[in-house]
Symmetry: C2
Subunit: 181 residues, 2 copies
């Protein structure tokens, strides 16, 4: 951030009064421009024994598989955001069963919030951000071709919990990892 | 938002290519400035039969009672943010027991995420954003002097769940309500 969004004067990184960390503060009007983590919402759509994955048509991780998810927008609840992303990316209308994984990604300043969801009918279609959308049995999950650690973690929890018959909430953290070889 | 943070040129509200909602887009460099909901994290500190509340020394809702909570900062997990706010506002070092309420506030573009927490010792002190900090039995909660609906909802769930002996996750939504009184 170089300039103030209100008055276009240069901003400087300094600690405001009554604060304890550096912020972008306008040199002219004094406005403090806070930057905070963003929320990513999405669904784990389930039909019978299968889950629905999307292959990404956009960067980052073009061509890799993911669950339908994206940034929460202003004016929507977490659930509405997760349903919207599932509609947009997978052309799927699901019913939310519950919040399932809540993952802090400190190095990316993101909070992932994934819901378990039921896909009532095998109806889906690739949206503009997906190359293809497909149903997978556990044995066929493309573990080495998943786009994000959050997606891997969510799927790992799901299949493990399914064996145990109990889907609890999972709250955790994704650490930065070196690129896979 | 009037000006681009990168180049100080005026921004215009328009729908970018491959998007479906208006964004602030720079008229010169083309940068898209996304605005997304913010996360508020906090704790419900419990010691014995009592909970710890703070009386706000800042606007909004100066003088009203709240649980220690504030905006999640970049570079921290949800849990670390909740612990930090509890330290800053209530001078209390707590142990997190679990994520307890997740509340979407659509009209404020905020997601509240409150953790149940144990206060091991009755040690606390008002931080700069608090007028006072105190322990309350359920019978003494100042229900008519609470700062926010999210805090009311969290406390209501807590005392109800405590009677039932089971503290599950509560995911919900806070609707806009007319001012009380």
């Amino acid at each position: 951030m170089n300039y103030c969004t209100l008055c276009a004067a240069p901003v400087a990184l300094r600690i405001p009064d009554d604060d304890n960390r550096p912020r972008h503060v306008c040199s002219a009007c004094g406005e403090i421009h806070y930057v905070n983590p963003k929320v990513v919402v999405g669904c784990l759509p389930v039909i019978g024994d299968q889950v629905l994955l999307c292959r990404r048509a956009i960067e980052p991780r073009y061509g890799k598989w993911t669950l339908p998810a994206g940034f929460l927008e202003c004016g929507e609840t977490l659930e509405n955001g997760a349903l919207r992303e599932t509609q947009e990316e997978a052309g799927a209308t699901v019913q939310i069963d519950g919040l399932y994984t809540v993952l802090s990604i400190v190095h990316a300043n993101q909070i992932y919030m994934m819901f378990r969801a039921t896909l009532p009918e095998p109806v889906f279609a690739a949206g503009v951000e997906s190359l293809e959308v497909a149903l997978f049995d556990e044995a066929d999950i493309p573990w080495d071709e998943l786009a994000f650690s959050t997606i891997r973690r969510t799927l790992e929890h799901f299949f493990e919990d399914r064996r145990g018959g109990d889907f609890g909430l999972h709250v955790g953290q994704i650490e930065r990892t070196p690129p896979r070889g």
